[in-house]
């Protein structure tokens, strides 16, 4: 559930909101419906990673990866696939960390 909510909201917002909105989405989603630390982190990580990779490919495929290849070379990476992976992992990390923070904050307020 967490995974799908983050996936859908991140995807939709990718077209008009700044990049850090994925952190807010992941944080709030985990705050409300997160269950465990591990699953919150990984579900958000995978969701944002997937969204970023898909959104990037939407732009990059009709471009024959010209831009991605140049940027890969700019960062001394051999090809566009590498910069795509870095993009995905970075997004995943932001999403995962934010979800984890949301979950831990929720825990801190929970009575047991």
């Amino acid at each position: 559930m967490l995974f799908f909510i983050i996936l859908i909201l991140s995807f939709a917002s990718g077209y008009f909101l700044p990049w850090w909105i994925v952190a807010v989405i992941s944080f709030l989603t985990a705050l409300f419906i997160g269950t465990t630390a591990k699953s919150s982190f990984w579900q958000a990580f995978i969701a944002v990673l997937m969204v970023w990779i898909v959104l990037a490919l939407f732009k990059s495929i009709p471009n024959d990866h010209i831009m991605a290849t140049r940027i890969a070379h700019l960062f001394h990476l051999p090809g566009w696939g590498y910069i795509l992976a870095v993009t995905g992992i970075l997004g995943g990390l932001v999403g995962g960390m934010s979800a984890l923070s949301g979950l831990l904050l929720k825990r801190a307020f929970q009575k047991h």
Binding site: G14, P18, W19, K59, N63, H65, V94, L104, L105, A108
Partner: protein
């Protein structure tokens, strides 16, 4: 007890949550912040804001409607297969508005950074490491000159409307941008585009003046005069070369005007010349070619014009191709991103092109200040007040720097003392003021407007009177006429005034007014049936005025004139072949003499192989030629061996005597003392130095390329690439094989070369051909960033789509934009 444990657990949970939140925020902050040279990574890599947004799709919209505030009527823009805009407007305001809008769409960052460079505003976005570059531009008076020029331009209603409409068009584009749609370089450097201002158009023209007329060797020449004395200096740095083939043919009569009285040399100049005991170095390779052939020599019976300006090649390309059409005007050619009009091009009646004159329009004055406060200086036998200009330079991440520049009536004192100069350019003498043509107000855009709308020879002549700097050889062709004019605002000077540093205290060393425009050298329909220029001497020594004492070597001009002289039934393709000609006149002039000195029996294996190659070489700098590699290295070794010892003194700034003077030494003065290497006890002659240079050349090539073989080929040996303006190798062309060298017509050398090759066939139906190394788009993620490079590198031209009306059909039209007001 239980409660206490609960509180600890609760506190630990909060701590964990806060630690996690802290690190998450830290991560986001780090990804949103530019750290040193690394762009803010989250922002830069994310698909929402980052570089992915700059990946342009190959699917082009066939039609697009845009509503733009400020347009008066409807504008239609047709794009061809290279995404070149063909703009059709109902009035001139809308035409220049649309030109500004389209140029900004394709080249916004280039326009921004070049303006910043000229205006000394790079540190504002890049940081303190470029502060010295900014200070240099400010202190050279770039802002001072641009302010005067924009004032003159705005005083002319035609140019004023043009600049304002162009500016509005650019800003109309900028205002519709959101951060995610900023050009990639803004994202890399993490700053936002700012509004375009009319003065930016003036800055771009001043930048051209800096590139083409912003260097000088007066400081070095003065040091040479001090070291060697006048006799030797005059011998080694003569005012006219041995080999020359001037732009205005030798023997042309100057009977079309009555010259003004030539000013008398100053006392200081004469004293320097009588004594018997006692700026940025100019870059070789920034040259250009242009010519026009009369109908009597062409297959069609109508003139053909050709132009290829050589500049330091960059991506995004220096030029932006455009067709501009409105009632009363239909012109095609290349424009400078940031300036309205077509700069080099043609319309249905005339065509024109430009090469650099290299006039002596930058002079240093040695000033005598009353004291270190520099509030007064001695001039005309009395103390005079200096003025001051404070330059405020914004610096990224720091407080602004306030730099005070002292001005005398000559101009700015670029560096007041050595501490201020620090690592500044060698050619700038400390404590001297600068008189420079770029400080003058001028109205070059009016010249361009008159050419864009010109119909005949007289329009061309009128247009030139508005063009002050950089002085340019304007070639012209219409259906009936051909002409060429080394044109510019030339200061009236005594001969050689400005070869050396001038005396700031003496009015006799001031510029004495100007050479009237109509007295600039010019020639129309000469008997030889063609006109041409390749930066060589403008005229033979009989021209009454002093323009400069040295010009580019004559080789390219000579080759062009040799070819054009024998040409009959010339076609566009004949011109294309000449533009890409790589025959070496230098080799023709000196190689036989060089070879005479070589005794093949005394050579080792590698040397013998090199000797064989150069012996059978056809003197063409083709990419697969090995002889070219040997000759080129041999010559540069020889040149350095002849002068490197005598001119070792650092104050002489490697300002060696010219190629021409060195050739004269080799051909006519083989026993000259200059061949002796003063660092060795032996007495060397020409034979020794030529042999030593040959051995050194072969060693250098072997060290770099191994044993003689395919690796020795010129195309493989010579490094050539088109660098990106952002200095990111990933955005440049990378190294590519090419023929030619600085002294061949196809002057591809050290990143310099033909920035635009154009050939125009005049006649009842004008046909233009052209190509530049790059593309229309400045976006490295566009299919149109570098799409014309291949055709250019193959030495081919493209027929230009010169549309006669907006409704003209062509399979080359790929999309149409319709712009209307809102």
């Amino acid at each position: 007890m239980v409660n206490f444990r609960g509180i600890i657990i609760q506190a630990m949970k909060f701590t964990k949550a806060f630690i996690s939140i802290f690190f998450t925020l830290l991560l986001i902050w780090a990804l949103q912040t530019k750290i040193s040279l690394v762009p803010p990574l989250g922002k830069f890599l994310s698909p929402a804001d980052g570089f992915w947004q700059n990946a342009e799709s190959k699917h082009i919209l066939p039609t697009l409607d845009l509503k733009l505030k400020g347009l008066q009527g409807k504008v239609t823009i047709k794009f061809d297969e290279n995404h070149i805009p063909h703009i059709f407007a109902q009035n001139e305001h809308d035409l220049y508005f649309a030109q500004g809008y389209m140029t900004a769409t394709d080249r916004l960052w280039q326009m921004d950074i070049q303006t910043r460079q000229a205006a000394g505003r790079l540190a504002e976005v890049i940081g303190p490491k470029v502060l010295d570059i900014d200070r240099y531009h400010r202190r050279m008076g770039m802002v001072y000159g641009a302010e005067k020029t924009i004032k003159a331009m705005m005083a002319d209603p035609v140019v004023r409307n043009m600049i304002l409409a162009y500016t509005d068009g650019i800003n109309s584009y900028i205002h519709q941008l959101s951060p995610r749609s900023y050009p990639i370089e803004f994202k890399l450097l993490n700053y936002a585009p700012e509004d375009w201002k009319p003065i930016n158009c003036a800055f771009l023209l001043k930048l051209m003046s800096e590139t083409l007329a912003g260097g000088s060797n007066e400081f070095a020449m003065t040091n040479i005069l001090r070291k060697f004395g006048p006799a030797t200096t005059n011998d080694l740095f003569p005012d006219y070369p041995m080999h020359e083939d001037p732009i205005i043919p030798t023997g042309t009569k100057w009977d079309y005007f009555k010259p003004l009285p030539i000013p008398k040399p100053s006392a200081n100049f004469l004293a320097g010349m009588a004594d018997s005991t006692n700026t940025k170095p100019r870059v070789e390779g920034i040259g250009s070619n242009n010519w026009a052939v009369a109908g009597s020599k062409t297959a069609s019976g109508y003139p053909i014009l050709a132009n290829d300006p050589h500049l330091n090649l960059t991506l995004p390309s220096i030029w932006y191709q455009v067709q501009l059409s409105a009632p009363g005007m239909n012109v095609y050619g290349v424009s400078l991103p940031g300036a309205p009009c077509v700069i080099l091009g043609f319309n249905n009646n005339i065509s024109w092109g430009i090469t650099n004159v290299d006039a002596d329009v930058l002079d240093w004055y040695q000033e005598k200040f009353r004291d270190t406060k520099m509030e007064e200086y001695w001039y005309n036998n009395k103390w005079n007040k200096t003025t001051r200009r404070v330059e405020k330079i914004e610096v990224l991440g720091q407080k602004p720097v306030y730099d005070t520049v002292v001005y005398t009536h000559h101009g700015p004192v670029v560096y007041q003392n050595n501490a201020q100069k620090a690592d500044g350019p060698d050619f700038v003498p400390v404590g001297h003021s600068l008189r420079w043509i770029a400080h003058e107000s001028s109205n070059e855009l009016m010249a361009m407007y008159l050419l864009n709308t010109g119909k005949k020879y007289n329009d061309y002549r009128k247009a030139l009177t508005f063009f002050s700097a950089p002085a340019s050889n304007f070639v012209f062709a219409s259906k009936d006429d051909i002409a060429i004019t080394p044109n510019g605002k030339y200061p009236l000077k005594y001969k050689d005034q400005g070869k050396f540093i001038l005396d700031g205290t003496d009015p006799a060393d001031d510029w004495h007014g100007w050479v009237p425009f109509e007295q600039d050298p010019t020639i129309k329909n000469p008997p030889r049936g063609f006109v041409s220029s390749a930066n060589q001497s403008s005229t033979d020594p009989s021209y009454p005025y002093y323009i400069n004492w040295s010009f580019a070597p004559y080789e390219r001009g000579k080759r062009i004139n040799d070819r054009l002289s024998v040409m009959t039934k010339a076609t566009v393709d004949s011109m294309r072949i000449l533009q890409t000609d790589v025959y070496s006149i230098r080799a023709q002039d000196i190689l036989p003499t060089l070879l005479k000195y070589i005794d093949p029996t005394k050579l080792n294996a590698a040397q013998l192989s090199a000797y064989d190659q150069i012996n059978k070489w056809d003197k063409n700098f083709t990419p697969n030629s090995i002889g070219a590699t040997v000759f080129s290295n041999w010559w540069s070794q020889l040149y350095n061996a002849v002068w490197g010892d005598d001119f070792a003194d650092k104050t002489l700034q490697n300002n060696f005597p010219s190629v021409d003077r060195t050739e004269k030494l080799l051909l006519n003065e083989p026993t000259s003392k200059w061949f002796d290497d003063i660092r060795t006890p032996a007495k060397e002659t020409a034979a020794d130095i030529v042999n030593k240079a040959f051995a050194a050349a072969v060693k250098e090539i072997t060290d770099r390329c191994g044993k003689p073989g395919a690796n020795w080929q010129w195309g493989k040996f010579k490094k050539m690439e088109i660098a990106s303006l952002s200095r990111q190798p990933a955005f440049g062309s990378g190294n590519f094989e090419s023929g030619g060298t600085a002294s061949t017509v196809n002057a591809l050398h050290d990143g310099h070369g033909p920035s635009w090759r154009m050939v125009v066939q005049m006649g009842p139906k004008v046909k233009g051909y052209g190509i530049f190394p790059g593309g229309e788009s400045g976006n490295p993620g566009s299919f149109f960033y570098n799409d014309m490079f291949k055709t250019w590198n193959e030495g081919k031209l493209k027929e230009l789509l010169f549309m006669q009306s907006v409704n003209e059909q062509s399979p080359r039209i790929k999309s149409t934009y319709t712009l209307t007001g809102k």
